[in-house]
């Protein structure tokens, strides 16, 4: 079943001169149609300015399409009366954790969303507990958010969204400001939500290593979907990705370079384990 569906979505930013007249128009999203299945882990890639974030903001109705339609769990996001429902079913986590945390205490911050939805107090506490446990931050529930590391803060942000019981979570470059451990923690938390809680995850990132486990990858360019497929299909096309200002994970690049040097390796190697196994198999076949 599809949880997020877009059909021919177009969104334009208008540039205004000092008198407020339209000076120019930038089409940020250009006839995008995609269908995200409930329970899947989706990644969206694309260079800066390719339209990823603009598209993402349509999923919880921060933006409404100029043309075309967006449905979240069957609800049309352009209908004013659907706004609350859409936003409680599709949550969003942004790049900078410091811009999303408002509570003085971790558990208070996580309870903010459900409280605003009018959830009964007893249930708020239950939701706070289960959300913090899901992202591995329960021991920090009494801490002050500003004493946490970047990765911990970002996991609190995710818990805050999770406490609203969304069906889909959009993460817009959640790891851009984090150190290696923080990145790992956040990606692990996102995969946990997807696999254990069954929440649909849409991850936008510039780190190619983070999406090797995704079910499907969409690559955007100039507001359009330029490529789509499994990580293996996408990362097999090293040269095409370079044209789109992207890259492949370092392991995939190493495999690609070895192949260019005459070692017969399969295309689209994604993990250390795969590369090592392929090289061992090759070495044994040489004996």
């Amino acid at each position: 079943m599809s949880i997020v569906k877009t059909e021919n979505v177009v969104y334009e930013y208008q540039r205004l001169d000092e008198e407020g007249n339209v000076e120019g128009v930038t089409t940020a999203v250009d006839h995008v149609s995609l269908d995200v299945k409930e329970g899947s882990f989706i990644a969206i890639l694309g260079h800066n300015g390719s339209g990823k974030s603009t598209l993402a903001k349509h999923i919880n109705a921060i933006l409404s399409p100029k043309e075309g339609s967006v449905w979240v769990d069957g609800l049309d996001t352009a209908q004013e009366e659907n706004l609350w429902e859409v936003r409680s079913r599709a949550g969003m986590v942004f790049q900078n954790p410091d811009n999303q945390i408002i509570g003085q205490v971790v558990e208070e911050d996580v309870g903010f969303g459900p409280e605003n939805m009018g959830v009964p107090t007893k249930e708020i506490w239950e939701r706070v507990e289960e959300s913090l446990r899901a992202v591995g931050m329960y021991e920090y529930r009494k801490h002050s958010p500003n004493k946490l590391s970047g990765g911990q803060k970002q996991r609190v942000s995710i818990a805050g969204v999770l406490a609203m019981h969304p069906k889909v979570i959009v993460l817009d470059e959640p790891t851009a400001m984090l150190d290696p451990t923080g990145r790992k923690e956040v990606i692990r938390a996102a995969r946990g939500l997807n696999q254990v809680e069954g929440v649909t995850v849409i991850l936008i990132t510039h780190y190619m290593e983070e999406i090797v486990h995704a079910d499907q990858v969409f690559v955007m360019d100039h507001g359009k979907i330029a490529m789509q497929g499994t990580p293996r299909e996408i990362f097999s096309q090293v040269e095409r990705l370079k044209e789109l200002r992207l890259a492949v994970p370092q392991v995939t690049l190493l495999a690609h370079e070895l192949k260019q040097s005459g070692i017969p390796l399969p295309d689209g190697i994604l993990t250390r384990k795969e590369l090592v196994e392929a090289l061992v198999a090759y070495k044994n076949s040489q004996k």
């Binding site: 590391s149 290696p180 890259a247 370092q250 190493l254 070895l258 590369l275 090592v276 090289l279």
Partner: protein
């Protein structure tokens, strides 16, 4: 313009119950023309350290010698120091404010009290060195792409004509090619303009590829100081302090365990490739 850091300690909230020791007896020498990578997990003291180097923060104890002179000496010209040590903060494009690109880059040198002609000359040179074409000079900086904005912001610091350039995560939030462009640009400032570069980064792959020397910080101390090969040889210890090795280094370790005679100190794709090809004969 060597920098010597001696017994530098910084305590936030000293004399209060909330005192936190952010820097703990740092001793370092940074020589002219070095390209240094500074790594460490969030909260390890990296940003606190770099803010001492141009006098934005004052040490609780210890000294910093810039060209042999202690910057904490009475009467030391901190303003001059700040024009010689350029600091590019995280997300520097948030500091763009002028009506067009050229005026924004002129702001720094104008405040140094230079003649209009010299200001313009410096701004042009700085914009050229970051690869911003003339057509964009009169555009609003807010109409540029993310990568362009960041390069304009870096040009604003370069126009001060610094001898030492410190960049705090200059590639955060950029796409892979944008990252490469910024890093190539920084490398060029070292090799062509002979600047001393201190790069704060969370990307082990980038640091391995570009820098000559790595400083690793943990709990306010410098725990490793060496070439990428030397530092990444401690990959287990690095993981314990929230860091990692470049992916290809892990691949070489895995291959070694699987009986390949590969170089365990490979830290870049090229090094790993050569080593694996050799091992395969």
């Amino acid at each position: 313009m060597p920098i010597q850091i001696e017994h530098l300690t910084h305590i936030y909230g000293d004399d209060t119950t909330l005192a936190v020791k952010a820097l703990d007896d740092i001793n370092l020498t940074i020589s002219d023309g070095e390209f240094i990578g500074l790594i460490g997990h969030t909260g390890s003291g990296k940003s606190t350290l770099v803010q001492h180097l141009n006098g934005l923060l004052k040490a609780s104890s210890g000294s910093i010698l810039f060209d042999g002179q202690n910057i904490y000496d009475k009467g030391y010209d901190l303003k001059a120091l700040r024009s010689q040590v350029g600091l590019v903060f995280q997300y520097p494009e948030h500091q763009l404010f002028e009506i067009d690109v050229f005026s924004d880059v002129c702001f720094g040198p104008k405040n140094l009290g230079l003649s209009e002609e010299e200001v313009k000359e410096r701004a042009t040179k700085a914009l050229e060195s970051v690869g911003i074409p003339k057509e964009l000079y009169n555009q609003s900086p807010f109409d540029l792409s993310g990568g362009q904005k960041r390069r304009v912001a870096i040009a604003g610091v370069l126009a001060m004509d610094p001898k030492v350039l410190i960049l705090d995560e200059p590639t955060a939030g950029l796409d892979p090619q944008g990252r490469e462009e910024i890093l190539d640009l920084i490398k060029g400032l070292q090799t062509k303009s002979h600047m001393t570069i201190l790069l704060v980064s969370h990307s082990m792959e980038d640091v391995a590829e570009y820098v000559d020397r790595i400083l690793v910080m943990n709990h306010g101390r410098v725990v490793y100081d060496g070439t990428p090969k030397e530092v990444f040889a401690h990959y287990k210890e690095l993981e314990d302090i929230g860091l990692a090795c470049p992916q290809v280094t892990y691949v070489c370790h895995d291959l070694h365990d699987a009986g390949f005679d590969v170089d365990l100190t490979a830290t870049t794709v090229d090094e790993a490739k050569e080593s694996i090809l050799r091992a395969l004969g």
